[in-house]
Symmetry: C2
Subunit: 220 residues, 2 copies
DNA sequence: ACGTATTTTTAGCCTAATCTAAAAATATGT
DNA sequence: ACATATTTTTAGATTAGGCTAAAAATACGT
């Protein structure tokens, strides 16, 4: 039996390890979980005891095969519920995260699999993040940051890096949603801001910070 | 803030009070919650402290207005999720209870209301139990037990009293689902068993115990 | 109405998960 | 390489929720 708290720690460790830059050390986990380092140490002992992580004092942690399986299943559930909330219940993409955070802890493999079928086996969630399948396999697609695009080229928005409500609401306000085709017209060398053409033909200016958080897939 | 455990106690107290026969005393609550009387006493103190119940030592409990509101909202969520699981995900009616038991604790009024809209504002759940609306108002419809029906009369199955998987699976096996029209042909005086005609024209025999757990609505 | 049975509460203990403060280990800068 | 800074762990306390065993209150049968 794995508690909700334990599940959340496994997910946090997965996320940190995924980024690869930082090692999954105690402080990083504490920051991700919004808790104290002492609490994290406590929990790491418990997770190691259950063979969900490999843990050596002062040396950071790594998920075991089983820990990875649990974290992957959790992410699958989270992202499938996000799709449900947006596609079926009409929530906006900045509203789904907190609800999915609760729904992902509902137990029942049959539930997840039927939800997956009901939604038509989606491969990506409303933020463009991949949804692992029932066997834990991930989908990939080539995507680059808007800020890495050469002026004159265009692509479809397929993901965001920053998942904050503030960023997502700003994108809504700009009329940019997942799938929107953007053309990079010009890069301003002074502040790295970008002049971009939106799907409806408008020309807008985006800051470099926006460009660093928008993933595009360049067509054919 | 009300914890999951507190919510479950409120729901249990509601259920016991609803039946009316027994008062909501400590032992009844312990039985309903599958726990000990000592644990119940502890919790009752906490719930009284939060003004969710009226509690006098040794004298049983009653929900306050607020306690009733919380319990009603919980039942609303539970039953809406049951409808979702059966109608949208194709679960059988003996499978939905345990999943709904988890889903009902997901917080978010907007979620419930949107789910309600998505499902078309159902008034009854897959077991025929009424679903309170967002204001806590209940739907009623006239229904009587099959065992109280006069031979020669017929009605549509609109509810079950026993919600156990064993009973529901037996009904499935008999080809009796919600909405099925049954005609009571004959009552056997020896053991109170009943000869009944099913929607597909078959004649079957049902025990009195089955008759005591099947609610019918008699048309016109 | 009085002794017995039942119900309910109290008391004391347990586990999971969290916290703060202090100690220990590791990392870093000159 | 050594003093200082940072990170991590330990120690001890807290809260929610649950348990068992014993005590107290209430109910019941004759």
């Amino acid at each position: 039996m794995i508690s909700h708290a334990e599940e959340n720690y496994l997910k946090a460790i997965f996320k940190i390890s995924e980024k690869g830059t930082r090692s999954a050390n105690t402080n990083a986990i504490a920051a991700e979980m919004q808790t104290t380092a002492a609490s994290v140490t406590d929990m790491l002992k418990r997770l190691a005891e259950k063979n969900l992580i490999d843990y050596e004092k002062y040396r950071g942690v790594q998920l075991t095969g089983e820990g990875n399986r649990v974290a992957t299943a959790l992410i699958r559930k989270h992202r499938l519920w996000e799709v449900f909330l947006m596609e079926k219940l009409g929530f906006a993409w900045d509203e789904v995260h907190d609800l999915a955070e609760q729904l992902e802890h509902v137990q029942g493999d049959k539930l997840v699999d039927r939800l997956d079928t009901f939604l038509g086996h989606p491969k990506f969630d409303p933020h463009g993040d991949p949804i692992p399948d029932a066997q834990g396999r991930w989908s990939f697609r080539p995507q680059i940051l808007l800020s890495a695009l050469q002026p004159g080229n265009s692509g479809a928005v397929t993901g965001v890096d920053d998942h904050s409500a503030a960023f997502l609401q700003y994108l809504d306000q700009l009329g940019i949603s997942l799938g929107a085709r953007l053309e990079l017209l010009e890069r301003i060398s002074f502040d790295q801001s970008m002049r971009v053409r939106t799907p409806d033909g408008r020309e807008i200016t985006l800051s470099d910070k926006v460009g660093q958080n928008l993933y595009l897939t360049v067509e054919g």
